[in-house]
Symmetry: C2
Subunit: 182 residues, 2 copies
């Protein structure tokens, strides 16, 4: 499974591609940051994010895109830019028919460190270890994007089983007898 993780932002949008399956060593295929100038017009910044995401999709052809779920409880100013950048990332993926998954920051932290309240350094250290990198990816947005992709790969089997169960239930089939254990 090849996943593009996106840590959305207007000034710095982290992007990272990870390939692998749960329970096996993972491979990083690419990591980077899409930047847009803070003094550019908002519309132009969104166009620049779109172009950046499109380049990553073109180059790596991911099967899934995992985007950080944005909450509006946080800083009022930054959250709007984050929501707008995440909308562009989701739009780019959905236009190509690539499934988009949203994961909360605490889900991502819990997936890679075991604690939903881990700090940036801890996430960076675990991403470095799990992907067998020489050094933590910089800036933190890039490391967070890789963590999102890892989180998606590890959570995907459970999510897929859940989706299968829901689909079976919706189709009127007995959902208990056909469950496959992964």
């Amino acid at each position: 499974m090849r996943v593009l993780g996106v840590d959305p932002g207007l000034t710095r949008c982290g992007v990272g591609v990870v390939e692998g399956v749960a329970g096996r060593p993972l491979t990083m295929l690419g990591v980077g940051v899409v930047r847009t100038p803070a003094d550019a017009e908002l519309g132009q910044r969104l166009v620049a994010v779109e172009q950046g995401i499109e380049q990553w999709l073109d180059e790596h052809r991911p099967e899934f895109v995992a985007v950080e779920r944005v909450f509006s409880q946080h800083n009022v100013r930054t959250v709007m830019g984050t929501a707008q950048a995440s909308a562009v990332a989701m739009l780019c993926a959905a236009r190509r028919g690539i499934p988009v998954a949203l994961h909360t920051p605490s889900e991502v932290k819990a997936a890679v460190t075991g604690s939903g309240r881990a700090d940036k350094a801890q996430v960076g250290a675990m991403v470095t270890r799990l992907l067998r990198l020489a050094a933590p990816p910089k800036p933190a947005d890039a490391a967070d994007a890789l963590a999102l992709a890892i989180c998606h790969i590890w959570r995907a089997p459970a999510q897929n089983r859940l989706q299968q169960a829901v689909a079976l239930h919706a189709a009127g089939a007995p959902s208990t007898s056909k469950g496959r254990r992964g």
Copy 2:
């Protein structure tokens, strides 16, 4: 000046096209709502908003797009969808090189009713009168989109003078002697 007003939203995105200049009777060229199903995936809904906005841009070729400025103080759930839909509208316009302007809800209300705290009915009544319509556009999102376009046409001269002054100042020219009164 032909302006597409966009009242952003995922479930209902109001769109309205108004042509005219400040101080002259205005003409409505079109009004409607881009709808997306609430049970569809977020990415698919954003793609549907994009397709809807593109159709309006194709059909009416506006020179400006006016979008409601989103604040995150309001309802936490709806504000994210509003921010995401507005990002798509801004993206569509900016991709075509169409200037995007943001106006706050109170700027729009003040422009068309004289009061920044006017209610929906008052905005609808004034839009109906100013565009000489037979009845208020329904739903309210459609009327709000027209109000945004009207607001932009009426505020534009002042904004253009401000932009000219800033540009002159940035170029080092004396900004007072060259100001043109509109």
